[in-house]
Amino acid sequence: MGFIKKMFRSNPAVSQLPSGSLTVNRNGKIITATVSSTYPPELLRAIGNVALDLLRDAHTAQMPVAEVTINFASLRITARELRGGAIVFLFPQTTSSSMSS
């Protein structure tokens, strides 16, 4: 039995990066999304909230911005202001999109 377990050892799941877009209203509620339905909705909400906060805080700092982009090592998030809410684009950074080797 130990032998079988060794052969079929379970690997930790690799979490998927979201790809697509979503729109959130001024209350942070997701209105539409083209991101895969397998992607955890709570994480999608977290992304939407961060995008809204960034746009709102910029306004509070007397520096209203129309668009904010966060470049993570493996994901780019672009948020555009949309009548109090935001439209958020998610681009996973693959080898072909970020840099060619």
């Binding site: 990066l17 805080d57 470049n71 993570f72 060619s100 080797s101």
Partner: protein, 357 residues
Amino acid sequence: METRHKILVLDDDTDWLDLSRELLSQLPSKPEIRTASSGNRALAMLDNEPFRLLICDLKMPRIDGLQVLAIVRRRFPELRTVVLSALEDEEFRSRAYALGVDLFWLKTEMQRNSQMFFECLESLLGRDNETGFRGIQSKGLMDIIQMECLTRSSTVLRLTRGSLVAKIWIQEGELTDAETDGAIGESAFRRLLAWKSGTFENLPADPSRERTIFKPINALLLESAQVMDENASPDSAASAEEIAHRKTVWKLSLLTRAGAEFVVTVPCEGQGAIEALGIQFQAAEQFSVWARKAVESARRLSDQIEGGPISYFTAKNLERYLLILPRENKTFLVGWSPDATDGAYEKTKKLIASWDS
């Protein structure tokens, strides 16, 4: 009978391998070119036959270039190694040099400046009968220059610090020219002596370079060391206020030269005051609150979604284009005009690399 050197080219792109084979076979010494498309294959080939030079890509599936180089350095210490990569991040250059590679070259640079690249390769291939030790040096720039001059070398030292690049031309032990970030000659030399860290590589000598520095190297080094001592010493004639004023002028000139509108540096919470140039302090304070909060919330988000470390932020409106670069102990917020989006990230990296030098 003259033996032909063998070069092994390792890259996962087979088109690139074909191109390399064609280009490298035209080297004057007519080396034999072999290719491998995976790290495992390359290591097996190195085990089976002697090679003089390994030209290695960095970004490859399974075993990447840095892993291959680490193994090669241990198992084949005599083998010369060259990294030829498209990864423009200076971190990779530093890591490659830390592994003891002889040369790091960008693929784009190779296409633009192929003649110099081939001369470097010829120079590496030709060092057949040279004796001596190879290793990783971690010395001050003054020591490196003095060593080259004392040994009456003819070389071009290429120095890299972040996105800043400088060159020093040495001809038969005499310093003939220097160039960095728009400055040449003595002023460039003095400027780059202030660099505290970076990487260097020896390029083939360039005797055709016009001489702009005529002072003996020792006199120049002595003058520069005196200036640095005066700036560093609290007992020097210049007061702290004067030094701060000089720094501000220097930073303003950097800002103007780069074409940026303003720079705000935001230290971590409780670790000093913000610094603002080109913008009213009150506005800078508000911006810094936003930048700090933005970085914190992005970091928290990254932990949740596993997006990796933050490279940078951009924000834009009709009036300006902002770039935020979080660094280890502070965050830089740089404002550009809205039409300066092209290349703004590279220009910002360059600007902040000079900022604290």
